[in-house]
Amino acid sequence: MSPILFIEQLLNGLQFGIMLFLMASGLTLVFGVMGLINLAHGSLFMIGAFAAAAVAGWSGSFLLGLAAALAAAAAAGVIIETVVIRRLYNRDHLDQVLATFALILILSEGTRWLFGSFPLYLERPSWLAGPVTLPGGIEYSSYRLALIVVGLAIAAGLFFLVTHTRLGDRIRAGESDREMIAALGVDISKLYTIVFALGAALAGLAGALVGAIQSVQVGMGEPVLILAFVVIVIGGIGSIKGALIGALLVGLTDTLGRFLLPILFGTVMDPASATAVGSALASMAIYMLMALVLLIRPQGLFGGAP
């Protein structure tokens, strides 16, 4: 194993983690402020990817595709929130799970009906198609590097938004005491719609960005959604800092596990079975990490008392 290969995998893990953060931060905001568990968050990821692929394919511009993804996911978020989600804030978690599961069925099949069952392809922009050479002579995909940079910038922007702006004040106030800020004259239902649309836009953006390194297809959102849940369980619910740390932990554990475990087993087994055993165990690594966190800190690394 060469150090260059290892650093490349490390960067892949970082990139994966950052994209998970874009999903998990929206989920954790929506849960923190509205107390809602939203399974349809993965559908917003999918909507972003499809909007980007459709618009980029039609216009030939990747950036226009990204703008379309943001707009489509945010618009879908506003519609979903006003039509369905709003009726669920005062319901128990079971009703929220079922109603948002129903939304997954409707949105997934609706997308299949519109776009068909075949995957779409989203081309990387030509100016990010090749590799870049990093210090130390490491060749790395410029697109993936851009994902890391953009993701970190969005994370920083989100922290700034939550801690230094008026909207952020309201979001944090909504997290700690919803009746009180309503009594102080904040239009709580508008705030909820904004928070939901913000989370939706982040998910849609993640879908569009990831759509260019994998195929864009129906059902692409749910595996990412479940990983985002693992992130939230590890990081602690409602905490954006927890979502960031959890997302990086999950991204690195998954990527490095897939890379290192087969090599590790290769030292004691023949290569074929080492690959089989190593990759099977690697697919379980992040869930083991989650189980470990549950044993030590059931409320998550940055969560308050459960």
Binding site: L94, A99, L103, W113, A276, A280, Y287, L294
Partner: protein, 338 residues
């Protein structure tokens, strides 16, 4: 006040009538199909009976215990693979374990069922012990995540088919029955369902069932009288997982195929949908839900490739408007508990 009590009583009586009609219907339709020589209808009814069994398992955790498990496909899949692994070893004359003792596979259903139940119970014990350390929305996310773990493991573990799943050539045997005959296999599955429903009805009224119900309503009060809510819930979760695993073994035998899709999160969602469509915490709620689900799948699926849209809309309406599910709607009893 007395009017309300009479209402509850007549609602309860009506629910029993509905239950009997449901069970009689599920028993009689295949009988009619057998005379009319419509084996596909019998297969649909068998599917409904098995899915109802899986839902009945979940209903113990969800309805009685208030544990919103979004990972019950784990147990369904474990049951399926218990069948697939035992039967494939038996059909290939390849012992399951060579050392220290030789353990052969088997195609004998009762043994397969016991193994499925035990394997499901052990998995539920481990998953339950971890996830019951939390509650509420954490519990939902964690059970969903463990479900995904089993799914990926089944896909990436090549010894038992990986992504292709595990097929067996002939359905496993049961003494005195020809299980390949659709009506006989239906009768067997229906009988298992009846036994489990009877057991479940007894369980609801047992001291354990009452304590579990109390723990759902108020953890503090149950603790105050000296019971441990964690252990009550864990026991319910284990029982629930074991029953769903049994359903998984029957389901894999129906298709003669154990597929990694049995572990998928969609299936966990669907099992939950049976329970909710029919009505949470009602004895025959999962049965009503599974029958409606199989009928929708058959009729809507025939009309449109995109029938999941209609299923989604129906589910959304039931959740937003009809608390208490179909049985609640029909018996006029509203939600079984709030």
């Amino acid at each position: 006040m007395s009017g309300a009590v009479t209402n509850i009583r007549s609602g309860a009586r009506r629910e029993w009538v509905i239950n009997l009609v449901l069970l009689a219907g599920l028993g009689l339709v295949p009988l009619w199909a057998w005379f009319a020589d419509a084996p596909f209808t019998i297969t649909l009814a068998t599917r409904a009976a098995i899915l109802a069994l899986a839902g009945t398992g979940l209903n113990i955790a969800l309805g009685m215990g208030g544990l919103v498990s979004f990972g019950h496909a784990v147990f369904f899949g474990i049951g399926g693979y218990a069948m697939g692994i035992l039967a494939s070893h038996a059909q290939n004359y390849d012992p399951l374990v060579q050392w220290p003792v030789v353990i052969e596979g088997t195609q004998f259903m009762p043994v397969i069922w016991i193994v499925a139940i035990l394997a499901g119970a052990v998995a539920a014990l481990v998953i339950g012990a971890l996830s019951l350390r939390t509650s509420g929305v954490y519990f939902i996310m964690i059970t969903l995540a463990f479900g995904q773990m089993f799914y990926y493991f089944a896909i990436s573990w090549p010894a038992y088919g990986g992504e292709d799943g595990l097929a067996i050539y002939v359905r496993n045997g049961f003494p005195g029955l020809n299980t390949l005959d659709p009506i006989q296999y239906f009768a067997l599955c229906f009988a298992v369902l009846l036994v489990v429903l009877f057991f479940n009805a007894r369980l609801i009224r047992s001291p354990f069932g009452l304590a579990l119900n109390a723990a759902r309503q108020s953890t503090q009060r149950v603790e105050a009288v000296g019971m441990d809510p964690f252990r009550l819930r864990l026991a319910a979760f284990v029982l629930s997982g074991a029953i769903t695993a049994l359903a998984g073994a029957l389901f894999a035998d129906l298709n003669r195929f154990a597929s990694p899709a049995m572990f998928s999160w969609q299936l966990s969602g669907e099992i939950m949908v049976f329970v909710i469509l029919g009505g949470v915490a009602r004895l025959c709620g999962p049965l009503a839900g599974a029958v409606v689900f199989v009928m929708l799948e058959h009729f809507l699926g025939g009309l449109s490739e995109y029938w999941h849209i209609f299923l989604g809309l129906l589910l959304l309406l039931v959740v937003l408007l009809a608390k208490g599910g179909l049985i609640g709607l029909l018996s006029g009893r509203g939600a079984a508990h709030g």
